[in-house]
């Protein structure tokens, strides 16, 4: 798991690359979201384009990120889901919990 941070206006974009799986990727996602929150970001967009595998621990981490950000009056959204990630979120009916976009510009605009 490799995470790059970018900013687009007041939206913090985290580009997730690789596996969000137990013991490695899951912790990396948590840390990146915590760091963004600590730095004052309230609008966080996870760009999932580079995610190759996500397991139940990774899904749990996405859910935790979502609830943590929401509890702090922030907004967390997802963009560019590979089909393998969509399928996995679908199976546990989380696809309707997250706000998901196909296009980054559209996602960024939706925050304002």
């Amino acid at each position: 798991m490799n995470i790059r941070q970018r900013e687009h206006g007041d939206v913090k974009i985290l580009d997730l690359q690789g596996k969000i799986t137990i013991g490695v990727g899951d912790v990396a996602v948590r840390d990146a979201v915590q760091t963004a929150l600590a730095a004052g970001s309230k609008k966080i967009l996870l760009n999932m384009e580079g995610v190759t595998t996500i397991d139940s621990a990774g899904v749990g981490e996405l859910v935790s990120a979502y609830t943590t950000v929401t509890n702090r009056d922030g907004v967390l959204k997802l963009v560019n889901l590979p089909s393998k990630v969509t399928d996995i979120l679908q199976i546990t009916q989380l696809i309707t919990v997250f706000e998901i976009y196909d296009d980054e510009d559209e996602a960024v605009e939706s925050f304002s």
Partner: protein, 152 residues
């Protein structure tokens, strides 16, 4: 001459770092059976969940070993993951789709295994420990690789 079915049997130390090694072995096996990348991905994910559970819930001591056995024979993938833990009651599992559980950070592993495989069985034995047996029929056309590239 005796036929050799794709087969792997190995012990690994009970820690998350072992998952990638097991996955590499299982993926090679599924390639030997000429399964396509899509099917290999989903079977691999079920195996990840089974090993993660063995590591998380299946140790009585530090750094115990987990046994993994995988075969592809008679049109079926079978993967067995055995740990030394005390086991659990599969009837007591909570439903991850229940509204009160939907936003819980855990409790989806076995649910995924069941959705990704045809059959998931748990066996408990005081001496042998806990075993999860994952099965998937691969007789259907859609599981097989169509091209060389697809197995790569």
């Amino acid at each position: 001459m005796e036929k050799v079915a794709p087969h792997a049997h190995l012990t690994v130390v009970s820690r998350f770092e072992s998952i990638e090694l097991v996955l590499a072995v299982v993926d090679d096996l599924l390639k030997q059976a000429e399964l396509n990348g899509e099917t290999r991905h989903w079977v691999g994910l079920a195996v990840r969940e089974a090993i993660a559970n063995a590591v998380k819930h299946g140790s009585r001591e530090e750094e115990e070993r987990i046994r993994v056995e995988a075969t592809v024979e008679d049109g079926e993938v079978i993967v067995r993951v055995r740990d030394k833990g005390p086991g659990f009651d599969p009837d007591e599992l909570s439903d991850p789709l229940a509204p009160e559980n939907l936003l819980r950070p855990s409790g989806r592993g076995i649910f995924y295994m069941r959705k990704l495989m045809d059959d998931v069985e748990f066996r408990f034995d005081d001496d042998r420990g806990t075993e999860v047996v994952l099965r998937k029929q691969i007789s259907s056309e859609e599981d097989f690789a169509r091209t060389e590239e697809d197995t790569g």
